[in-house]
């Protein structure tokens, strides 16, 4: 796949290096396998890798049609999410990019309310009315029923045949049910865009080059509505610009969060934190420049304790090599900043909570209801804080904010290596006893008092608004959105 896998242990840094030189489709596959093998894990690395990969996808995208690009990104996104659904950050980044494209598209549509409006602005209401019954009938795009309904798309290598105008006559027959709903303008677009989606999703290994396909479809489109498309020639550049901003946001979010630190930490405070987190570390370091306080650090045994020890002693996590290269020598442990750090095991949380002024939690991802998924042990800490009336502050970048509502909490929790709890060499124990090692805890919103993001402080009840600001409603359910667009 990628050369980097053979050279060194694959991870975020090797992947980012390989991105430039590797074809996009291979990069996607590589990222999927890295996600599946958990060689890229945790929010920040996943977010960085997803952003970089999507930038490559957009760069490589040859067409000029925003809808096409949307679909392309969504397809890639769906594959990435399917690879590791519990890394919700991947989905967040995909949705952010989709939202970006939609925004640019809508801006274009607003700019000239002529023909463009009919295909860029109007589809949404149509989709809604179209989609509801449609979604229920075909739950999965991968179901055999679905494939059965679209035999030509699966077998033929769509693009060429699509480009031929000869295809046009029998298309309405296939999609008669859909075309009947839509006005002529949209249905015409649908004719050409339709085959793309299933062929993309059903061929995850990239049997044919998506590049070629998109060029062909785009050229076909150009033939049909040249006047419309000309106005959107710069869409790719705009999207890339937006994605670079997103990239900057990822890189700067910790510093932006840290800028708030002095608003939340007073002198001589006793602050309890949990697990190793770059965001929290920077947040506390920023406060340490001005104020003296005590940090009680719960070590998150058995999964993150090594990272906690490393953070306490050196100021950075072991796996933070990529970030540390950029940051140079700005990394120092809190103790070097004159902060007293007390390491405690997780069992001490309740005992020490009576004297703790504030709990600062790191998070894996934040959910739209104001709850969060954080390293195992966070729930005990949040509950203990609640019964001691200690405020709980969650420090997180907006990129970790996911539009997902936790209807099924167990679905969000990943289980880790039981060998971390009881080593496998303890044979008879492991044989007879079930050993559990969940990696994450769900913390309900009522246990959280405040979220500090790169946008400022928010109450948990306000997060839904931030979700609405950052994600387009159509993108929230990515698999559903695909159905929706297939009209």
């Amino acid at each position: 796949m990628s050369r980097s896998t053979t050279i060194q242990a694959p991870g975020l840094s090797s992947y980012l290096k390989s991105l430039r030189s590797t074809p996009v489709e291979a990069s996607i596959e590589h990222f999927i396998s890295l996600l599946k093998r958990r060689q890229i894990r945790n929010s920040r690395p996943c977010a960085l890798a997803t952003t970089q990969l999507l930038i490559q996808v957009v760069k490589e995208f040859k067409g000029k049609d925003a809808d096409k690009l949307l679909r392309r990104i969504r397809d890639v996104g769906r594959r990435l999410i399917a690879a590791q659904p519990r890394e919700m950050v991947v989905g967040n980044i995909v949705r952010r990019v989709l939202g970006l494209i939609r925004e640019i598209k809508d801006d274009d549509a607003d700019a000239d309310s002529n023909a463009v409006n009919s295909d860029a602005g109007s589809p949404t209401p149509h989709h809604d009315s179209l989609n509801r019954p449609h979604l229920a009938s075909s739950i999965s795009t991968f179901s055999p029923l679905r494939h059965g309904a679209l035999p030509p798309m699966d077998t033929t290598s769509g693009p060429e045949s699509l480009a031929d105008s000869g295809e046009l006559p029998h298309r309405p027959a296939l999609f008669s049910s859909h075309t009947s709903y839509a006005p002529l303008g949209t249905s015409l677009f649908g004719l050409f865009s339709q085959p793309d989606t299933p062929s993309n999703t059903s061929t995850p290994t990239g049997r044919h080059s998506p590049t070629g396909k998109h060029t062909m479809t785009a050229s076909a489109l150009e033939r049909i509505g040249e006047s419309t498309i000309l106005k959107r020639t710069n869409i790719k550049a705009e999207v890339l610009e937006g994605m670079n901003e997103l990239q900057d946001e990822l890189e700067q979010s910790d510093d932006q969060i840290a800028a708030n630190a002095l608003d939340h930490i007073h002198s001589n405070e006793i602050i309890l934190t949990h697990t190793a987190s770059t965001s929290v570390q920077k947040f506390l370091l920023a406060a340490a420049k001005k104020r003296k306080f005590t940090v009680v650090h719960a070590e998150a045994h058995p999964n993150d304790h090594d990272a906690v020890h490393a953070t306490i002693l050196t100021g950075k996590k072991r796996d933070a090599e990529v970030i540390s290269e950029e940051a140079g020598d700005r990394w120092k442990p809190l103790t070097a900043a004159g902060i007293t750090v007390v390491l405690i095991p997780d069992s001490h949380v309740f005992a020490i909570m009576a004297r703790v002024n504030k709990v600062i939690l790191a998070t894996h991802s934040v959910l739209a209801n104001g709850g969060l998924v954080a390293a195992a042990g966070a729930r005990v800490i949040a509950s203990a804080a609640k019964v001691h009336r200690t405020p709980v502050v969650v420090v997180t970048g907006v990129y970790k904010l996911s539009p997902v509502y936790p209807f099924d909490i167990d679905e969000l929790i990943e289980y880790g290596d039981a060998g971390n709890v009881v080593p496998y060499d303890d044979g008879d124990f492991v044989d007879k006893v079930d050993v559990d090692n969940p990696l994450y805890d769900y913390v309900p919103p009522e246990l959280v008092d405040l979220y500090v993001t790169n946008l400022g402080g928010h109450a948990p009840s306000y997060l839904y608004r931030i979700v609405a600001d950052h994600y387009h409603p159509d993108d929230i359910n990515l698999s559903g959105a695909v159905e929706r667009d297939e009209k």
Binding site: I270, T294, V296, A300, H301, P302, N303, H305, D306, H309, A310, I312, L313, T314, R318, P333, L334, T335, G338, I339, T340, V341, V342, L343, I344, P345, D346, S347, H348, V349, F350, A351, I352, A354, R355, A375, A376, G377, R379, V380, S383, A384, V387, I413, V421, V422, D428, F429, K432, V433, D434, V435, D436, N437, P438, D441
Partner: protein, 494 residues
């Protein structure tokens, strides 16, 4: 080195008293030999203690002289031990009046030697004793814990010496186990006791013979509530002994009383409690327990043997991992056991229908003082309305009160918190200038220690609020936590 013969001289005698507990003789003498030169001559309290011991030794020597034994202590020792052995076996009293002072005198002579040596030798443990204190818990840092029998007062009985080491190394861990083992050792101490001339047993035994033992045990690991209650009970018994009663009878009475104390307050109580608690388990239950409690184990095994189908979740925590042994035992007996650590307690709680907790002590205000982490488990259970059952013998009840886990607690060494694996995981992160060719693990430990603002907290207990406890099962019946002071009064008045 005259200290050596003094210590080894006791070995032949030790095995006999220690028949029930074979640990003391092999452990005690070698550690003593090693420990003597290592003795750090540091803290004021220790110096005071030693001065006191020395004074006592001199006094004893003088007494011995007046009695008329003038033989060199070193020579006479093996000979003297023989009668001691006999006395223990057959409870003979013939030689006792002479022996008491002699025994006290023997270690007395080498003791000054020991001290002189320690002055010349560099104290190797000095570095470890400079413990960084966690501010909030500063009041709990007292004397560093005793990990060897060096510096123990000479009156300390070998059985107690060995016991102390087992306490400090957590070989004997848990309130009940510590209490029982202490009482058994005290039996040996009383057996080997002889009242000096002109003293009444009722006055002398407690003050001059039992107190050094207790002081030593306290130095090894702070006395548990149950031990305190047992000691109080024993002292009470001693004081009440009629001076007219012969010493042999008095000792026999004391030993019988200790036996019946163990039988009534612990063995029988455990039986009652586990039978009662067992009835709380219904088929299909999922019982969660935290760390390890003998009585919880007995209860679960009883229920299992009674054919009740249920599942057990053992939640555990570092660094002691006591629950591992419990889980292993239960699984060995065929129970369905899951095991997880306290960080995943919220997950473990999902399917649980009942919580069984052991206790270190029940406070007079209804709070439970138990292994650190218990409070978090009880809190999670309370959140989910899962009944929390505390199994606790009334010997663990105390009239002390506690509001939080900070005012009163026991500190363990911070070094215990970092396991071998965790230390070695940090080796490659060692700063270049600090890593030397020396032992890497030791380097890592030094790194932790030398970091000026870095502290490690390792407490052993926490206090669970009374409102999280649904029921306390004792041998007096099942009670709400608010009834603890009442039961304590009843059990101490009888």
């Amino acid at each position: 080195m005259s200290a050596e013969p003094a210590d080894t001289g006791e070995t032949p005698a030790a095995p006999t008293p220690a028949t029930s507990d074979p640990a003391p003789p092999p452990n005690a003498p070698p550690t003593a030999e090693k420990g003597a030169p290592e003795k750090p001559a540091l803290s004021g309290a220790e110096l005071k203690k030693r001065a006191k011991a020395e004074k006592a030794a001199k006094r004893a020597q003088q007494k011995a002289a007046t009695v008329g034994i003038s033989g060199a202590p070193q020579d006479s020792k093996p000979v003297q031990q023989e009668p001691k052995q006999q006395k223990k076996d057959g409870k003979q009293t013939s030689k006792e009046p002479k022996q008491g002072p002699k025994e006290a005198g023997q270690p007395g002579t080498p003791l000054p030697m020991r001290r002189r040596q320690s002055v010349t030798l560099p104290p190797p443990k000095e570095k470890e004793e400079v413990v960084k204190q966690v501010g909030l818990f500063g009041h709990l840092y007292g004397q560093p814990k005793q990990h060897s029998i060096a510096g123990a007062a000479k009156e300390v009985h070998p059985a107690i010496l060995a016991l102390g080491l087992q306490y400090s190394s957590y070989v004997i861990c848990g309130s009940t186990a510590r209490c029982v083992s202490m009482l058994l050792a005290f039996k040996k101490v009383i057996e080997s006791y002889t009242t000096p001339k002109g003293q009444a047993l009722a006055r002398h035994l407690t003050a001059h013979h039992l107190s050094p033992q207790i002081t030593y045990l306290q130095a090894c690991r702070p006395i548990s509530i149950s031990m305190g209650n047992a000691i109080r009970h024993l002292k009470d018994l001693i004081v009440k002994i009629d001076p007219a009663v012969s010493e042999a009878d008095a000792k026999e009475h004391l030993i019988d009383s200790i036996d019946s104390f163990i039988r009534e307050r612990i063995t029988a109580a455990d039986e009652l409690i586990s039978s009662e608690a067992m009835t709380k388990i219904t088929p299909g239950d999922v019982v969660l327990t935290y760390a390890s409690s003998t009585i919880v184990q007995t209860t679960l095994l009883k229920a299992h043997n009674a054919g009740i189908p249920f599942r057990v979740i053992v939640v555990d925590s570092k660094p002691l991992y006591e629950g591992k042994a419990l889980a292993r035992n239960l699984a060995h007996h065929g129970l369905k056991v899951s095991y997880s650590l306290i960080s995943s307690a919220a997950h473990a709680m999902k399917s649980v229908t009942r919580i069984f907790l052991g206790a270190h002590a029940m406070m007079s205000n209804g709070r439970l003082y138990s292994r650190v982490g218990t409070a978090a488990i009880a809190m999670l259970a309370h959140e989910r309305d899962i009944p929390v059952t505390v199994l606790c013998e009334s010997v663990k009840f105390t009239d002390q009160v506690a509001l939080d886990s900070i005012v009163k607690n026991e500190l363990a060494s911070p070094e215990e918190l970092l396991s071998e694996n965790e230390r070695s995981a940090l080796v490659d992160l060692l700063p270049k200038d600090k890593s030397s060719s020396a032992d890497k693990n030791e380097e890592v430990m030094k790194w932790w220690r030398d970091e000026p603002n870095l502290q490690i907290l390792n407490i052993l207990y926490d206090v669970t609020p009374a409102e999280y406890i649904s029921i306390v099962i004792t041998e007096h019946g099942s009670l709400p936590p608010s009834s603890v002071p009442v039961v304590h009064r009843i059990s101490t008045n009888t």
